[in-house]
Amino acid sequence: MLKDEILLKIEKPARYLGGEVNSVMKEKEKIDIRVAMCFPDVYEIGMSHLGIQILYDMFNRYEDTWCERVYSPWTDLDEIMRREHIPLFALESQDPIREFDFLAITIQYEMCYTNILQILDLSQIPIMACDRTKEDPIVIGGGPCTYNPEPIADFFDLFYIGEGETMYRRLLDLYKEYQASDMTRAQFLHEAGRLPGIYCPQLYETSYKEDGTIAAFTPLYDDVPAKIDKEIVTDLDAEAAVYPLAPVVPFIKVTQDRVVLEIMRGCIRGCRFCQAGQLYRPLRERNVDELKEYASAMLKNTGHEEISLSSLSSSDYSKLPELIDYLIEECDRKKINISLPSLRIDAFSLDVMSKVQDVKKSSLTFAPEAGTQRMRDVINKGLTIDDILGGATTAFQGGWNKVKLYFMLGLPTETTEDIEGIAVLSNEIAKAYYETVPKEKRNGKVQIVTSTSFFIPKPFTPFQWAQMNTRDEFLEKAHIVRDAVKSQLNQKSIKYNWHEADVSELEGVFARGDRKLCRVIYGAYKKGCIFDAWSEYFKNDIWLETFAEEGIDPAFYTTRYRSDDEIFPWDFISCGVTKAFLLREWKKANQETVSPNCRMACQGCGAARYGVGVCREPKAGGNLSE
């Protein structure tokens, strides 16, 4: 444990103590494999992540394995650890990470890349995978960003592509063989790289064309697969996909300070900007009876006072009314709050919300993502003006008067009319309020908060070919919205917020980046960049300086035009959805043509190969096989 003098000096010492309710202690003498599960951000963020809770539970069910947790030390402790050469330690045993067998890092967003280097550095593990020996832990990455692992490929021994429940046992067994024999680290990594879903970057080589795009990406050995298929849980209710019924309960308030119930994986919607909507296909639901049991057990085991549902689009869960009825009854009895994820606003969801929230205090959330129908057709967001105004009107009649609207700026084919449409739509909603609610019944003005984020093209989406806007274009567009809001009749009821553009630009670089970026990330880290996801620590000037020093133009990754047949750095990974399907969708987007969702008609995306979930349901509009 850290010395008292340090714990008394730093902010929130509970971040580093372990010992929380439901944290798992084991006798290390009886353990073969020690896993340090890491979320490379501060404790409060990392502890809120469901994926780690699932894997922590899974690993600790194995008798031969002890899984512990580690998060990024906040900047105050970071400084002390560097000064006093204190090695980074795991929360449970407080033992140094470098003594572990695996350091498993979940990579949820691009802006945590320098924090990964902080974790390795503080752990006193060589930053570059090629410098590690049999004494060092195996550093393995997982999570959404590993669908394009190339910008961080040099720092990892292995990446696990896909859902973690399926392949870890085989990897651990292989590791035990490695430890018990005279197998070298290179031999182990080679064998691991042949397991389904496991990608070992050292076993591949990239060659580039003169223009900097990829000429070929090839395995260095014949027995290593050229294509890595994602791992997927085919039956979410099966033994192998068991749910963590007793998650760790933090002492301090964390971002997600509640029971989180994952009701399904995948999404039927096919919004063309959305990466998660493609990566986790096909949609698979959990059994509603099991979910009821899980909810009760988790509330009992944690003592949390709130429960929330997790999925990409909860309204699409087929047994949602049954589940919510159960939760309302159960939670009312136990005085538990229900926090509802963003449901589609309709009569059902409004009825539910009025039961679980104080209407006067809560707000409605719409994510139209774009201001005009034309633009919404391009992005395949199946939300019409009638849906929005109809939902809002019903809500206003029910007593709501706060509305949050989320939009994106910089979408492909966007025109000034689309941009101004954001302000027009906001105004329409305000107008609907004043037309719906008579003066005497109004609870003050309607409060509309309109927020825009900047669109960042992501791998494995139809927009992976799209040209991203520059920082200046983004800001210009935000100013157009701001001015358009000011010219609306109900401008006093509309508050407009927009994001910063610098960090979006960097995220855009990493999202579609290649291996050449490893040296930029390392370079920026060495100059002090960490916690880039935290605006107060984001140092854009250092990043720009490092790009220049390394001779890399960020625009190559963001604004550059990509041809239909360009080889992308992530093409060697298969997430189930084919590149041909994504290209088809990209063309349809440019033609402003929508695609029906998976329940209406199969679009032949490729995910049917798994033969599970929504792909097996009969379709309203008939089936289109792969």
Binding site: L8, L17, L299, G303, N337
Partner: protein, 230 residues
């Protein structure tokens, strides 16, 4: 019905602050399925109050909190069920069903007893124990308290009800005013002693344990908060 719970705080739990301790107990009470009273409204909260907040880094063998309960089995059952939900670093020491007339825990607090030890490497390098008697024999101990608005001069002697020590064990014991109006912190007294001897302690010098928290009975005697009777 009101129930008073006495608990200890040790090990790494000493670094958990007061508000987080409240959250910890709220969750523990839910896990123990105690029939605690809730406030009404959209976000009901548990009826719970703590006697005296303990500073981060301090140990305790005598923390108290009162909770309201809608139904009660018996004190021993509540104690067992709650203890079963504790982590290393907090133990339930006693559970007392309060008489209807009992005042709330915080308002009842009159005094607290502390043991002060020295953190390893921070032992005094001057004759401290040999001068304690002389210090405590002073008629008055003028001190200055910094409040939010101004500085107040007062006689610290009036707030120290007992002061004793064990030179062998390098421990100092004190019973001090902990009431809402006249609360003094043991760390403040230690600093005062150092200052009296022309010394200045390190901010990490003292390891402080609150041994118990006291209220005044009808006759003006100090009794531990869980010893009150109707």
């Amino acid at each position: 019905m009101k129930v008073r719970i006495k608990f200890s705080k040790y090990s790494s739990m000493i670094f958990i602050g007061h508000l987080d301790m409240m959250r910890y107990f709220q969750k523990a009470i839910r896990r123990a399925e105690l029939d605690i009273t809730y406030s009404t409204g959209f976000s009901p909260h548990q009826i719970m109050s703590f006697a005296a907040p303990l500073g981060v880094g301090m140990y305790s063998n005598g923390e108290y909190m009162d909770i309201g309960m809608d139904s009660i089995t018996d004190a021993e059952d509540i104690k067992e069920r709650l203890q079963a939900q504790m982590v290393e670093g907090v133990d339930i020491l006693s559970v007392t069903i309060l008489p209807e007339t009992a005042g709330n825990a915080m308002a009842s607090v009159a005094a607290a007893r502390y043991t002060v030890r020295f953190r390893e490497g921070y032992e005094p390098d001057f004759e401290l124990f040999d001068h304690l008697e002389e210090y405590y024999r002073q008629e008055t101990l003028p001190a200055v308290k910094q409040t939010k608005k101004n500085t107040v001069e007062f006689d610290l002697k009036q707030a120290i009800y007992e002061l004793s020590w064990d030179k062998e064990k390098q421990e100092i014991y004190m019973l001090v005013n902990a009431s809402s109006s006249g609360n003094v912190k043991p760390g403040f007294i230690m600093e005062h002693i150092y200052h009296y001897l022309g010394q200045k302690p390190s901010e990490f010098a003292f390891v402080i344990t609150r041994e118990d928290t006291y209220t005044e009975d009808a006759d003006g005697n100090l009794i531990p908060l869980d010893q009150i009777t109707a």
